[in-house]
């Protein structure tokens, strides 16, 4: 494992649960690897898989999409749609032999600051194992 390598992760967090949880994690001064740059969206279903693909192809090492737990969506059903889309991405990655470690969808309820820490730490670890995104070395993209 390359300890020096610090993966770059794009976070796409829903405004209602996951972003609030990240806020809580910050306010609670939880320590976690400084790898994730979070973009706040109104709902995880705004995170069109094309955004994740775009980030990966431009050289991000991973994309972490986070939303409310199923049943808790502020808009009732947004995260169910997100779940279908990212299941689809997983399947496409499987078929094409792309690395499924690089795109993750998780549910983080607003009150679970520690889960933000846990998830970001785990994703950082798993991307350290995966190594730098080969897209960085690929000019034709």
């Amino acid at each position: 494992m390359n300890e020096e390598f610090r993966p770059d992760i794009l976070g796409i967090f829903c405004r209602w649960c996951s972003y609030s949880a990240a806020d809580l994690a910050g306010v609670s001064r939880l320590k976690m690897p400084p790898t994730t740059k979070v973009v706040r969206v109104m709902c995880s279903s705004r995170a069109d898989p094309v955004f994740a693909l775009g980030a990966l192809l431009s050289g991000a090492d991973g994309v972490l999409v986070a939303g409310c737990a199923p049943g808790d969506c502020h808009y009732k059903t947004g995260n169910y749609q997100t779940r279908r889309r990212y299941a689809l991405v997983e399947k496409i990655f499987d078929t094409l032999g792309l690395d499924n470690r690089r795109v993750k969808l998780v549910w983080i309820p607003a009150s679970e600051g520690p889960k933000v820490k846990r998830v970001i730490t785990a994703m950082t670890e798993s991307l350290r194992e995966a190594g730098p995104n080969p897209a960085r070395a690929e000019m034709f993209i």
Binding site: K91, L96, M139
Partner: protein
């Protein structure tokens, strides 16, 4: 057994033409959309014909697909439906595209009598250049009548398992019609039965599942297994994708001929994806260099996420590619995966919503769980 019109004709194509003529002459339909021979060297195009005499040159089963007729029919009816009944002769995959487009609110199917046939597949458009199909045609018609798969078809046709149409009003039992001696037009819906009512020709009963259909299904299944079990890319992963799309010229023909890609303005044509100096700035900070213009792979992968669940595998994209990238095979393979995921057969059931427009609360529970070990 279903209600059917039994026709005597010299081959399936002639039977299909006769059927369209009879329908038009009977006044049951005001017009007919079908393939029509438009040139001396086997050029065919879709036409909307209102006059029975003009149907002399119609060749509904000609083994070429100049455009996916499902998409064409959607463009004709997206604003409003036909005022008077019109018959449209579509291949099974064109019909499936039409049904998919209906789910995406892109068609008005009112007043359209959908006619299809069990399908022997089509040749790549390139094969027809300079009259190149003339020699292959007799063997094609024979293979169709016997239920043998013809050689040299579009790869997605050779591996097509849905060559018996879903949900057409009338279906011509073209595959394997040789042994029967007569060509049956089977009515599969009340609208189809109504269309057959009172038409000349012996009314009888017939089955679409001929011996020919069974033998062709077996052959197609084997070809499909062979084609689909191979890895879609020579090298899995990014490297393979780069090699596969390496010669893509970015013309986006694959998308413009795709019947499923019906967005008025594609995301990839929107200002969002227009490269700006900043785009290159970002790329160059992160990478050793970048292609100009960038985002070739994003376009293809993005399209896969947008339309692969509805891909009917018609093969238009590969035929339209100016640099001969076998796009259709890759898209059909990825589509097969995503369609299996949602247990969805595009174009089969008009009442079933497109997977990305619906969901179940208690499905796919493992997606969204913390799974970082894999």
């Amino acid at each position: 057994m279903a209600e059917a019109l039994l026709m005597k004709a010299d081959g399936a194509d002639a039977a299909a033409r006769d059927l369209l003529k009879t329908l038009l002459a009977s006044g049951k339909v005001r017009g007919v959309m079908t393939l029509v021979e438009t040139g001396p060297a086997g050029e065919v195009n879709y036409e909307l014909v209102a006059d029975a005499a003009a149907l002399e040159k119609a060749t509904p089963l000609y083994p070429l697909m100049p455009a996916n007729a499902g998409g064409l029919l959607s463009r004709l009816t997206v604003l409003e439906g036909f005022e008077e009944p019109v018959a449209a002769f579509l291949r099974p995959c064109e019909l499936r595209a039409f049904v998919e487009l209906g789910k995406l609110h892109q068609v008005d199917a009112e007043n359209i009598l959908l006619i299809s046939a069990t399908c022997g597949g089509v040749y790549p458009l390139r094969a027809s250049l300079n009259g190149g199909l003339a020699d292959a045609l007799p063997a094609y018609w024979e293979a169709l009548a016997n239920g043998d798969g013809a050689e040299g078809l579009r790869p997605t046709c050779s591996a097509c398992e849905h060559f018996v149409p879903f949900g057409a009003d009338l279906v011509l039992a073209a595959v394997g019609s040789g042994a029967a001696g007569r060509l049956a037009v089977v009515a599969s819906t009340p609208r189809g039965e109504e269309a057959l009512e009172g038409l000349e020709g012996a009314a009888g009963e017939a089955e679409m599942e001929t011996a020919g259909v069974k033998s062709l299904r077996e052959k197609r299944g084997a070809a499909r297994a062979e084609l689909f079990e191979k890895e879609p890319l020579a090298t899995p992963g990014l490297e393979g994708l780069v090699a596969f799309f390496g010669r893509c010229v970015g013309c986006r023909s694959c998308r413009s001929v795709c019947p499923i890609c019906c967005c008025e303005i594609c995301y990839f044509d929107s200002a969002t994806t227009e490269p700006t100096p900043r785009t290159f700035d970002v790329h160059l900070k992160r990478k050793e260099g970048t292609r100009v213009p960038p985002d070739t792979l994003l376009f293809h992968l993005g399209r896969l996420t947008h339309m692969s669940v509805s891909c009917v595998g018609c093969g238009m994209c590969a035929d339209a590619c100016p640099v001969y990238i076998p796009v259709a095979t890759l898209f059909a393979k990825v589509g097969a995966g995503t369609q299996t995921l949602f247990e969805y057969v595009p174009g089969k059931d008009p009442a079933e919503e497109v997977p990305l427009q619906r969901f179940e609360e208690d499905e796919l529970v493992e997606v969204g769980e913390e799974r970082f070990d894999s």
